[in-house]
Symmetry: C2
Subunit: 310 residues, 2 copies
């Protein structure tokens, strides 16, 4: 059995560290296409398919934020199911961004929901607040089916300072305690490249902490949000990677809405999925190029520093 | 506009503090009924309807754990929608136990998903890990539509010790920091009975902490899980209430599976929804009676203590 985390590592090695986030709000869809679709939810799926087709060969994986689909009710969840299925049919990997977290019995239901059946994903995101018994039922799927997960550690939003950043009496911040416990769990199931089956979510904001975080959790794969629309830059993101791997960098809005910059209010009605696809690809390629260039620059600096220490 | 938290207070005053948890696993359903149902998911809804009809007049509200429905895929979420709708049509209140928690834009999508449309609930449960900007978009619905929520504070599972119980450098445990921040938020929107529009989840395990917790958060409504199958007793639960109100005590398995004790392996196949309903009602009535008796006993003790101090 090949661990998903190994497949993800290979995908990054081959196609770069960009994770395309499909947080598709209906108003990202060109008005003409939205009007002609059988339903709003169907238009969301068709939009996603256009973006996926245009980015398959230059992205490591996709992240689908389920909230955008839940917001459209049952029809939205049909589009969610179809999007996951389409990505996997194309031979890519999909992270279900669901941030679930509940007591063990309930976590087992959730794991069945998102690692099997209609909503089967390759990896998921999880929330650690309730403790490790809320994570373990998911981990059983790592051992059984090779599935992967990213547990929220240090996120990219302003509110992370409220709880994640709390200094603990025992030393270190809360997010480090989460990282340490996930690492201990990951020790039970590691892939061929040395990364645990489960990794963590580490936002690419606050880049001054990157070196320390990357060093301490060198054997955990990172899901790195916060790029683009959320303020993170290629230089920042690159510092959370290890020679361009060991993590995927997610961007959603900057890719999905890239087509807007090719149109103005007057000709907006002419835009179609072709334009969405072209702009999304351009944005994802730029992002990949920028991040890999920043990774190379980091390596040169490190080499220079290493040789000056000889 | 009447706040949902006020409606919930009134419901407890009228019908007692029992919250019936509809964490309905398919194997709780009598085999005969399950066999005759159009689908497994449909059987789940029919089972729920039987339990709801039998407990409407003796329960404050219902809590529906969405994980059990997600586990059945799209068909399960149809049963979830139908269950929520049925409860609200009967004039009772429903807590969607979803424990969502995500960055602000995403939280706004989730809030739309669970406070409007197919999955509209009266109250939800939320996870605080990512901070207050993950809670605020939900709170906008308290101000706009009177909706309510319970934020995870101190849960009833073993794993709560991993993070919730961490001692902070600034003093107190993490869960207190969550409680304090939710209290500050709740100050912006309080109901007629003095409780904030948003409350917290406090498990009825570890009852020795009940007095301190209840005193500190006297103006927050509690959702109290952990009763029955999870080990909590009436005496424990009563200590997290204020004269029998200020919280609802949830039981799921002990109510849903009560009918099993009326049958043995030989006559299991004779069981039907009538038996489920009768046993669920009996269990819920016992629970209500036990908790209210324990509340009365607490009051007597307090009165005795108060008068001995004169």
């Amino acid at each position: 059995m090949k661990l998903t985390i190994d497949a993800l590592y290979d995908a990054v090695q081959k196609r770069g560290p960009v994770c395309v986030g499909l947080d598709t709000a209906p108003d990202y869809i060109p008005p003409r296409e939205r009007m002609h679709a059988a339903s709003e939810a169907r238009a969301v799926f068709e939009f996603n398919r256009a973006v996926i087709d245009a980015t398959l060969d230059i992205s490591a994986c996709y992240k689908v934020q389920i909230a955008y689909y839940e917001a459209l009710g049952l029809a939205g969840l049909e589009a969610y199911r179809d999007t996951l299925r389409y990505i996997r049919q194309q031979g890519s990997l999909v992270i279900a961004d669901i941030k679930r977290g509940d007591i063990a019995d309930t976590a087992a239901c959730y794991a069945r929901a998102h690692f099997e059946g209609d909503f089967e994903a390759d990896l998921v995101t999880l929330s650690p607040y309730m403790g490790m018994d809320s994570i373990e039922p998911w981990f059983a799927y790592a051992k059984k089916l090779g599935k992967g997960a990213f547990v929220l550690m240090r996120t990219s939003n302003k509110g992370m300072r409220d709880f994640e950043y709390q200094e603990l009496l025992q030393g270190g911040r809360l997010y480090h305690e989460v990282g340490r416990k996930i690492r201990a769990l990951a020790d039970e199931c590691r892939g061929n490249h040395g990364f645990g089956a489960f990794g963590v979510v580490v936002g690419c904001t606050e880049p001054e902490e990157a070196e320390a975080i990357r060093r301490e959790y060198h054997d955990l794969f990172f899901l790195i949000p916060g790029y683009g629309a959320q303020g993170g830059a290629a230089q920042d993101a690159s510092r959370f990677l290890i020679d361009g791997n060991g993590g995927v960098v997610n961007a959603s809005r900057s890719i999905l809405k890239a087509w807007f910059s090719d149109f103005d209010a007057k000709n907006l009605s002419q835009a179609g999925y072709k334009d969405v696809a072209m702009a999304a690809r351009r944005e994802a390629v730029n992002m990949k190029t920028d991040i890999l260039a920043a990774c190379k620059a980091n390596q040169k600096t490190q080499n220079r520093e290493a040789s000056s220490h000889v």
